[in-house]
Every structure is written in C-alpha cells, then in structure tokens.
Symmetry: C2
C-alpha cells in the first residue's frame, strides 16, 4: 500500500536537539548564524530554543539571547521547548516564538519512571494541569505527542493497542478541557522503529483516526531513520521532525556517540528524488549542514552533505 | 505492493570493497583476522580478495597471501574479483576460492568511456571473449551484472527501458555461448538509487524475467542504503551485497569521504526486526564491525555497531 503525500512539512529541530547535546558551549552568535542560514532555505518551522534549567542543559542557557538575536524571515515559524510553567512563561516573554500547547504521554511506563520518576497515572493527571496552564496563558493546545511509540530501551516492544489506548486517553483529556488535537506526534524517542513497525503503528492510528495529521519524530541511532521516513511516506505521513546534518542525540538511550535525529537534508533529498514537495532548497540545506559541522567542531552523520545531491550532476550530464 | 522474502542471502564485500579503498596498507594478518571473524558469524559468502594490478590497488597486492592465510569455515563460500584472464588465473591458482563467471555491462556509456575508455559496443563485444575465456577454464557463467543501473554521475538518470534492453543483450550473449544466467546483479555503482527508483527498476525486471534471481549492490553515499534495501525487500529481492561496518567507497564518484557500501550489520538488523531470516548472528557481526573500525584506524559509517541491537535491551526489559 503506497499513499505518498504530494508535499510534506518539516520541523527543523537541529538548533535545539543538536546544540543541547554538545559537551562544549557553542557561542550564541554561532547558534544565531545557523538559525539565520536555516531560515533562508525554505524551511517553514524551526525549533530554536529550549527554556529548561540552565544547569541541566548548559547549551540552552542563552535561549533568550538566541531568540532575540535571530533575523526572523517572513513565513517562518520559530518554536521552542519548555517542560513547565516557568519555561512556558520564558518562551512567551520572548515575544517572537510561535507558542503552541501540547499533551504528552509516554508509551513506556518504565521509561517514565526512570526519567521522570512518575507513574503513567501521575503523568496523565499532570496533563490536565498542563492543559489548564495553557488555557490560563491563552495558548491553543493542538498537538499530542507520544514518547517511545515504537519501543523502549527499558520496556521493550510497544504493542499498537497500547499506542491506540494512550491516544484515546489523550483525546479524552483534550475533550474534557474543550481543546482540539489536530496533530499527533509519534516519537521514536529511543530509535526502536523499523519500517514495518512504522507501517503497523501508523496504519493502526490512521484506521482509528483517519482525519488526524500524524507526524513522525525519528532518530537514526540504528541507521533506520531514512528507511523509517520512507515507510511513513508510503503510509501518507506528511509531517516530519528532522535535524540539519543529523545533529542531536539520544540522551536517554544508555549509549554515547550514536547518531542523532533523522537528517533534514537526507530527508529532503529523498523527497526531491521522489517528486514529493518540501519547499526547501536542498543545496542551501547542504550548506547549512556543512556550517553545522563547522560550528560543533566534529563530524555529523548526514550523508548528502558529503555525497552531494544529484541536481548538479544531472545539470553537468545534460550540458 | 509488499512481497517480502522469507530469507535473504548476503554477499559480504567488506574485505574487498573496504580494504581496497584504504590509503594506508593494511597488514595481511589483520585482513585475515577480519575474514576469519566474519566466517564465524553465519555469513555464507564473503568476497575476500581482488586479483588486479598491485600498483593500481596496493591494498589488494597480498590477495594470494590473504586467501592462503584464512581458516575456511564449512558452508562458507569465499569469492574474489578479477578484471582479466591473468586475474582469473591467479584466483583459480589459489585453489580455495569459489570461481564463478559473469557477464558485465554498464547502463551508462559515459561512465564506460571515462573509466575504461571503451564504447558500449566494445564492452558488449568483449563479453563474448570473456564468456569464451571462462569456458576455456571450465568456469560456469551464471551471473550478469549491470553497473550504474540506477543512474550515473556523468550521464544522469537511467531509464528502465535501457536496463531492460541491456539485460536482453546479456541474455543473448549467454544464449549464444550456451551458458545460463541465474542471478542478475543490479549495481548502484554511483549511489543514484532511491526507494522509488529501486521499485521501478526491480519491478520492470521482475515483470520481464519473473524467474530470475535479482540481487542489489547498494552504496550509502547519499544515506539511502537501508531505505533502498527495504524497497528491494518490499519487491521480493532476496540477495544483497553489503559491507561490514559500511566499509568501502565510491572510487568513481568524484568526491571523497563519502559513505561506502550498505552496511551488513544494519541490513541484518533491519531483517531481524522484520522477521526475515539472514542466518547471521547480529551480535557477532557487530563485533566484526568494531574490529573493522579498529583495523582501518578510523570511524566507519555503520550505525548498529554504535547504537546497539535491540536483542539485549529486550532481554534486559524482560528480566
């Protein structure tokens, strides 16, 4: 079954997912340089900051300065991440970010206990409080995110029934507070997804919620990132999170040095070659990938920034 | 359309494709160490040597010593590469290699002119001579290989009609000399394949030659390797060439440092997770990937050797 979308939307997560895992402090000006370069590629949505505790994530301590320092481009939405009301208030105070609320659950309770010392019941309870928090701040709640959708390093495989049941709980929470979930994020937090698992879980979600926009957040830790994106495209998924040059990591995965998020320019290359529109200029994106590598000072996993796109080769061949 | 095979056969090309592109000379004993380790993973076919001019490929100059030095395992077929009669005779003289003849054409005539200074007509003519050479040496000719099947850096895209027409020429050559092609290798020599292109060309070949075994030789230069393998699996392809740790390169591609062949352990991981049998022990393969990296002295692209398989995590989760 192939049901390719005509076009896809990409949320570029590199400036947040990528810089946050770097051990050395990246100068604010260099973060801004990358974000400004990304803003000129045709990307429509870029996550650029994280309003978390500076001692926990030192490379996000300058988030306010980063947001204030960029040159926003018309038509580009800039987003941020927060984990509590204080973070949300910091994000709102920048006056420059698109602020959107979300409900988040985890498909793995073991993961939850290890990383947040909470039960699923406690997490569900807290989502009610979070929705109310958003309403107090006049923030629309439009997205649901399910962590560890495809498997968990500590719990193992996640059956699709569990995904469906947790999705149902999230829709119930939304309904109870009068908000409408329009976009459902399937997060492969610990890189357990494989193409067949993508198809099973996306298929189950599409069958139950045919009008819901599904998005995939993929990691490339086990080399399956692009194959998983392709499986998602085959199922009609049209929204993806990705990271320039494949920046990012798997802070919870219990291993170091593994590849990060699925690589934006490799994803755009795949779509370009398949005739799926991304609105993004691949050559400009490749330049951003090279810049990202220069900024972090070590090689990053993306392939097309090394291997090159086919556009110039086609032009040369035709000349 | 999904037509997954129940099991696949892998030809491990790392010891040949990988070592031949290394700039520093790898000691013979280390090549043997890797081959012996690979022989104990369950891999059934390993390409371990190349009988070409030592001045052209210095790292293959010790091919005779490598072949003589390994500890062959029962059930494992060891193969080599040669480009002319002298090379074939060297391979035969080892008395240890499985010697099989093949007919080879290139889907790109531009590539042929640049790399071999020959026209397609000359290459076709030479294949008749080559088949006769094999017959003189009592070597079965069972395989056809088509280089640049999915595109060419110098010629651009390759239409499937061209692939079909060249396949027809190869079958005609075989018929004229009374030999039977049983396996047809689609070689993505310059990494132009994408999953949809794999499906188009594999589909066209399967329609025309439903009983022919197709094999895919994939490079990961643009990050599409595993996605292409997945697309091949979806089309029922059951034979793949791959390289441990993703060793290898694209000597013709006109760029350096790009990723090599599709990575054996990442391919086996994909198959394991999908329930497609490979006969290979993934954990042993990961150890070989780590060993390969140690031997070449620089990082190699495979992901699972860094990210880890899921087997141990599942066992821990179940404990």
């Amino acid at each position: 079954m192939s049901d390719f979308p005509k076009s896809i939307s990409i949320e570029e997560d590199g400036p947040r997912e990528g810089f946050q895992v770097e051990k050395t402090l990246i100068p604010t000006a260099q973060k801004i340089e990358l974000i400004d370069a990304l803003s000129n590629t045709g990307l429509k949505r870029i996550q650029i900051a994280s309003f978390v505790r500076p001692d926990a994530v030192p490379n996000m301590a300058d988030s306010e300065q980063v947001v204030a320092g960029i040159t926003p481009q018309p038509g580009v939405t800039y987003t941020g991440l927060w984990l509590n009301e204080k973070g949300l208030e910091r994000a709102i105070a920048t006056n420059r970010l698109h602020i959107e609320g979300s409900i988040t659950l985890s498909a793995s309770e073991t993961f939850l206990k290890r990383n947040q010392n909470r039960t699923l019941e406690q997490l569900i309870e807290s989502q009610h409080t979070i929705v109310e928090m958003y309403k107090r701040h006049n923030v629309d709640v439009t997205t649901a995110n399910l962590m560890a959708t495809f498997g968990c390093n500590f719990e193992g495989d996640i059956p699709e029934e569990k995904v469906l049941s947790l999705a149902g709980i999230m829709f119930d929470i939304a309904a109870e507070h009068g908000v409408t979930i329009k976009r459902f994020g399937l997060l492969d937090t610990m890189a357990w997804a494989t193409p067949d698992r993508i198809k099973r879980i996306v298929g189950a979600m599409r069958n139950k919620y045919p009008d819901l926009a599904l998005s995939l957040h993929l990691h490339d830790t086990r080399g399956m990132g692009i194959a998983n994106a392709y499986a998602g495209l085959e199922m009609g998924v049209a929204e993806f999170d990705s990271s320039i040059a494949g920046m990012g990591g798997c802070p919870f995965a219990g291993h170091k040095g593994a590849a990060g998020n699925v690589c934006t320019e490799d994803l755009v290359f795949l779509c370009d070659e398949m005739g799926i529109e991304t609105g993004v200029d691949l050559e400009a994106l490749v330049d951003c990938g090279v810049l990202a590598e220069k900024i972090v000072g070590h090689s990053l996993p993306g392939a097309v920034k090394v291997g090159g796109s086919l556009k110039r080769l086609r032009e040369r061949a035709a000349a």
